[in-house]
């Protein structure tokens, strides 16, 4: 009468491959950015090989990728919880202004000062997280306000582009290390950090929160704490991006951070992370950033004006989002 094996109560039967060999539709959006990188890279290489294998070309490409990859990494953590962080723009501007005005030439004091800027970033992130988890105001609104606030502070510190960037900082973050450009190492390091972080309790909790906050609460997830951690990490990574940009451009820019807001969200979305939370990968976002930044190269090789960069960036974004949305509709069961 009563089945002792599961066979009799199976509601649907399908053969399956062992875990690890399977590719479900669900994973496809997170793999697409690698395909975009491959396709765009091939196109650029065929049309203008010098952009890829010319002298210093790789370092130049990756130097642009590093800050966007950093911000996109942090943005992924926030977006997975079903939030968004617009304040990275104001924060990067503020950090950049600080770095261009308050830094020593070199030495141990320089390290301390750089750390202080990073710590300030964490404080800013904690503030975001506190406001969002305590007041339940939409993350969009909270970070819209803090973006504006820190952007204003940036102008107070450094009213016009320029300032003086410490040579110590510049030499620490540019050039090669052991023959490999530091920019390439930085991107590789970010990938490794994600591989390490991916199976953590922290990321599992972020996914649970983004997937269904009420049920996550039923499971005993500390929602407030996790959100604060996510926004703090996002802000820390944005401060690191500021450090990098300031060293690369050798100048402070009081509105230089703003471009990172939408670009980071674009990179995350291209990476296949769902803006409805519950699903995402920082590694895919980094690949998304790489693809996003290859478009200006492609436009250059095609001898088009730079207007077309923005046009094609918007175009690839809408194609990617449409594709991911169709996949999502397919995988959702009734």
């Amino acid at each position: 009468m009563i089945p002792t094996t599961g066979v009799a109560i199976r509601s649907e039967g399908r053969r399956r491959l062992p875990v690890g060999l399977r590719l479900t539709w669900r994973d496809v959006p997170l793999l697409m950015p690698y395909l975009y990188v491959l396709a765009l890279g091939t196109a650029v290489f065929v049309l203008e090989p010098r952009l890829i294998d010319g002298p210093g070309a790789v370092d130049a490409r990756f130097s642009l990728i590093v800050p966007l990859a950093l911000v996109a990494f942090g943005q992924t953590l926030v977006i997975v919880t079903r939030g968004v962080d617009l304040s990275v723009g104001g924060l990067i501007s503020m950090a950049s202004a600080l770095l261009a005005t308050h830094l020593n030439e070199s030495g141990p004091l320089l390290v301390l000062e750089a750390l202080a800027v990073l710590a300030a970033g964490v404080v800013v992130g904690v503030l975001n997280g506190l406001l969002i988890s305590r007041t339940r105001i939409q993350p969009f609104i909270v970070t819209l306000a803090t973006w504006s606030i820190w952007g204003g502070v940036a102008y107070a510190i450094l009213p016009i582009e320029g300032g003086k960037v410490s040579p110590g900082l510049i030499s620490a973050l540019t050039g090669p290390l052991l023959g490999i450009p530091k920019s390439v190492l930085a991107v590789a390091l970010l990938f490794l950090v994600w591989i390490w972080l991916r199976p953590s309790r922290f990321v599992a909790d972020l996914i649970a929160i983004g997937s269904d906050e009420d049920r996550a609460r039923l499971l005993g997830v500390r929602i407030g704490l996790r959100k604060i951690e996510a926004y703090a990490l996002c802000a820390l990574l944005a401060s690191l991006a500021a450090l990098w940009v300031t060293a690369q451009t050798q100048a402070g820019a009081p509105s230089g951070g703003d471009q990172f807001i939408l670009n980071s969200i674009a990179a995350v979305v291209l990476g296949g992370t769902s803006i409805f939370g519950g699903k995402g990968s920082a590694a895919s976002s980094i690949a998304g950033a790489v693809a996003f930044l290859m478009i200006p190269d492609l436009v250059f090789t095609l001898n088009l004006t730079s207007f077309w960069s923005v046009f094609f960036q918007g175009f690839i974004l809408i194609v990617a989002v449409t594709f991911n949305s169709l996949v999502q509709l397919r995988t959702r069961t009734a």
């Binding site: 953590s200 309790r201 599992a204 005993g220």
Partner: protein, 513 residues
């Protein structure tokens, strides 16, 4: 595994005892001094009509809400749970009616969330987790569920099985199953019963809440019946035949004012004919006809397909089957199609689905019929005023002015505004989905009167209610849904509370035929 009932269990002392539990929500008492005693090794069934307080009791027990007054004891020790986490720590595990799985986590992640087998430096060993989950599921006889899939990707029945498995794996002292069989296939119900029996034989307490009398008769040792927030009877299942259970569930009730029925609608023309309507997974195959000027009551336990039926007829739910309105086949693909055909809906939740709370009474009343009062895309103030005045006076809405926000009105008055908007649309078929829920008695009487007036004007009404008393006294005919099909059709003298209830639980056959 034998299905024999462990009478040995009767010897042990009461292990779980709830006494004098009270809980009210905004002045409405859901529990009014409820008691429940379960022994170790016992499968205890909890039954009662919708709104009798079963679910509230379960929520108190599982820590989702806290009782206002009352004691809970487990094995002689007082128990005070303030959160689901504390309840689980105390050994109470609940299979919730609304499943508590995280949609985007895998089966393995859900099964052991927070208790993963191997965690080092805050990092979960997913390989170990997957194999532990696969092993645990295999032992429970659910080895075919793919542990790497996300909960979202599983069919509803598998999600329910997983939810049950998750609770069983915690090895609780008390296992609460709140409508745990509602989404299961028959063979899966057998699986669950076997598990619950094994759990009870090991000394666990299983609290089994179900609407299905057959299941209760089949599985449980003892049963407690709830009505209107208190326990009205309890005893061994052998001493509680179905007829006695139904009688206890119904009890005696305050009579309400119902308007007289119109002359029998026999021979009247059919306004709406539904043939073989289905909307998976719950609505399977419903055919019915609604005649001019009649109230066709729809009964049945919650979740037997009533909601998909109403949504499908309103074009808000994908469906298969035919809907004919005055002999014309309709294609109902969106609510606008239904409205254009003359089908209007009073939805379940007036505040989120029916009204625009921040708008005025006037705007809400005219929202569905702006075409009739405007010209060239502009609203004509005089026509608007006339319409609003006639609706507001006909409905006797208690208000200061028509420019008042709907938000500030009482529930009953809000419902009248919604009714007014629908009346302005002049529907041929009116769908009312539990339209009197949470409405005071006075307003209910007015809604009944309005329904009769509409009937006199020739409108056909399809009327679903969770209140059996209301169905029995208001409807001209009643169809009772069971498992997504019309389980019974009641006409004339057959329309009694006990017949509706019996048909709903599927336990009794038609008394008059």
């Amino acid at each position: 595994m034998s299905g024999a009932r462990t009478e040995a269990a009767a010897g042990t002392a009461g292990a779980l005892a709830l006494t004098g539990v009270r809980k009210s929500f905004g002045g409405v008492e859901a529990l009014r001094g409820a008691n429940l005693t379960c022994r170790r090794g016992e499968i205890h069934a909890l039954i009662g009509e919708n709104g009798a307080g079963k679910s509230t009791l379960v929520k108190v027990l599982s820590g989702a809400i806290q009782a206002d007054v009352g004691d809970v004891e487990l094995d002689g020790r007082p128990l005070r749970v303030r959160s689901p986490r504390e309840a689980q720590a105390a050994g109470i595990s609940t299979v919730f009616q609304e499943l508590s799985l995280i949609p985007d986590l895998t089966v393995a992640g859900n099964l052991f969330y927070g208790r993963e087998p191997r965690v080092r430096a805050g990092r979960i060993d997913y390989r170990a987790l997957r194999s532990a989950a696969a092993e645990a599921l295999a032992q429970l006889g659910l080895g075919w569920i793919d542990v790497a899939k996300t909960a979202r990707e599983l069919p509803l029945s598998d999600r329910q099985l997983l939810e049950i498995a998750k609770s069983l794996l915690r090895e609780p002292a008390v296992l609460v199953l709140d409508e745990a069989t509602s989404a299961l296939l028959p063979e899966q119900v057998d699986w669950l019963f076997a598990r619950v029996r094994a759990f009870a034989e090991r000394g666990g307490i299983a609290l089994f809440i179900s609407h299905r009398l057959e299941e209760i008769q089949h599985l449980s040792h003892r049963v407690t019946v709830f009505r209107a927030g208190v326990d009205v009877g309890s005893g061994p299942i052998a001493e509680m035949p179905e007829a006695r259970l139904v009688e206890l569930m119904l009890g005696r009730r305050v009579d309400r004012v119902y308007p007289p029925r119109l002359p029998a609608p026999e021979g009247r023309e059919v306004v709406c004919e539904v043939v073989g309507l289905s909307a998976p997974p719950t609505l399977r195959d419903v055919s019915l006809e609604v005649r001019r000027g009649e109230v066709l009551g729809v009964g049945g336990l919650q979740g037997q397909g009533q909601l998909p039926l109403f949504l499908a007829l309103f074009g808000a739910r994908r469906h298969a089957g035919q809907v004919l309105l005055e002999r014309q086949a309709l294609r109902l693909r969106k609510p606008a199609d239904a409205l254009a055909a003359g089908i209007a809906l009073i939805p379940e939740d007036r505040t989120t689905e029916g009204l625009c709370l921040a708008l005025s009474i006037r705007d809400n009343l005219t929202l569905g019929s702006l075409g009739g009062i405007s010209r060239g895309g502009l609203i004509r103030p005089r026509r608007e005023r006339d319409l609003v005045d006639s609706l507001a006076s006909g409905l006797s809405i208690n208000m200061r002015h028509v420019s008042q926000e709907v938000l500030a009105l009482s529930g009953g008055n809000q419902q009248k505004v919604l009714l007014g908007r629908v009346l302005a649309q002049k529907p041929r078929l009116l769908l009312m989905y539990d339209a009197t829920r949470g409405v005071d008695v006075g307003t209910k009487a007015e809604i009944y009167r309005l329904m009769r007036e509409l009937c006199a004007e020739g409108v056909a009404i399809l009327f679903y209610s969770t209140d059996v008393n209301e169905l029995a006294n208001l409807a001209d005919r009643v169809v009772v849904l069971h498992d997504g099909v019309v389980g019974m059709h009641l006409d004339g003298d057959e329309i009694t509370e006990s017949n509706i209830l019996a048909a709903a639980v599927g336990g009794l056959r038609k008394a008059v035929s």
